[in-house]
């Protein structure tokens, strides 16, 4: 790949890193990353991936920007209230870095559209806010062999990991089934420290870049926990479940499932 003079300057702080170099920057410019959710996690992740020069980004969201989003969803702005989040995010990304091609999907992800939307993307960044979509994304990633960069947040706590099919466990290896409504906090009990979304969303961005570049040790098989109140990071080991309903050798789930969506965090 030949860089323009402007690209050499724009990405100079990457290119001078021996672990990245021109070769790595070219990998980023040809990478294809799909972000599901342009909200709390998707905003910082999309922003930094765009700055890094991820060449093709897909954005999936069906929602519009609301005033109450702006406490954490930094890719949007006050003047964009009422606009589609995908379109708002696309404007911010293109203002930051015209090298990035953005494709928007103004749709709610379900079993019928997910395979079409996934087509052509190598990495899926899960920044959704509900279990139904998380299980759908997991199962589709396992079935298509795509890497799922996972993050979730609740109040002052966050979790991040990378699910790489065949290499490490998947979400169902951890939690075989979504919880039933009523046994998890509901949205009225929600709330989140805005900057926590930045920490976890940026961890997802960093893991995505490492995977694209093929450097370091990604969070495959490791669950990273962040406790913001006590300023503590912890790592737990995740293992492939030999009886996993979706990624084991004899899966019991072979078709995508639309779980009933409920307001559970």
């Amino acid at each position: 790949m030949d860089f323009t003079d402007e690209q050499i300057e724009r990405y100079s702080r990457h290119i001078i890193l021996p672990e990245v170099g021109g070769v790595g920057q070219a990998k980023m410019l040809s990478a294809r990353v799909l972000l599901i959710g342009a909200g709390g996690l998707g905003s910082p992740a999309a922003y930094y991936l765009a700055a890094a020069g991820i060449g093709h980004m897909g954005l999936v969201d069906f929602d519009v920007v609301d005033l109450s989003n702006l406490q954490r969803q930094i890719i949007h702005s006050t003047e964009r209230i009422g606009q589609l989040k995908t379109e708002s995010a696309k404007k911010t990304i293109q203002a930051l870095n015209p090298d990035v091609q953005v494709t928007v999907f103004n749709e709610r992800l379900d079993s019928k559209n997910i395979m079409r939307i996934f087509e052509g993307y190598d990495y899926i960044l899960d920044g959704t806010d509900n279990f139904a979509t998380r299980y759908l994304i997991n199962d589709a990633c396992v079935m298509t062999g795509k890497t799922n960069i996972h993050g979730s947040i609740f109040r002052f706590e966050g979790q991040a990991t990378v699910f790489k099919p065949k290499v490490g466990p998947c979400y169902r290896c951890l939690y075989p089934e979504p919880p039933p409504p009523g046994l998890v906090p509901n949205c009225q009990e929600g709330g989140v420290l805005g900057a926590l979304a930045g920490v976890i969303g940026n961890l997802q961005a960093v893991e995505t870049l490492k995977m694209v570049l093929g450097i370091g040790n990604p969070l495959i098989g490791t669950l990273l926990l962040y406790d913001a109140l006590n300023t503590e990071f912890r790592r737990l080991k995740l293992k492939k479940d030999p009886n996993c309903p979706v990624c084991s050798d004899s899966p019991t789930i072979t078709e995508l499932i639309d779980y009933e969506e409920f307001c559970g965090i």
């Binding site: 998707g42 912890r234 080991k237």
Partner: protein, 93 residues
């Protein structure tokens, strides 16, 4: 010295908002019963009626998931750290 148990945010209502408590017991099942005696109602949030952890909650002894050790019979030593880790979905879109 008893074991240290890390309580996740959604269960802290039951532990007077403490994110870390002590519990006595030789194995995970005993620890869970001890937690219940200190914080009534907590075991029901963590376990099914038969005493196995619910499928959207994992229990770790130090860094290891007890499902890949001896499950509820996993031995606990003084000073071990037990973490209760529920699935959380929030990206707060």
């Amino acid at each position: 010295m008893p074991a240290k148990v890390r309580i996740p945010t959604p269960l802290m209502k039951l532990t007077d908002n403490k994110n870390e408590v002590s519990a006595e017991g030789d194995n995970i099942a005993a620890i869970l019963n001890n937690l219940e005696s200190q914080f009534p109602g907590i075991k029901d949030r963590i376990c099914e009626e038969n005493g196995t952890p619910r499928r959207f909650i994992n229990i770790y002894l130090n860094e290891e998931d007890i499902r890949f050790l001896d499950a509820e019979n996993t031995a606990v030593k003084d000073g071990d750290e037990i973490s209760i880790i529920p699935a959380i979905a929030g990206g707060v879109a």
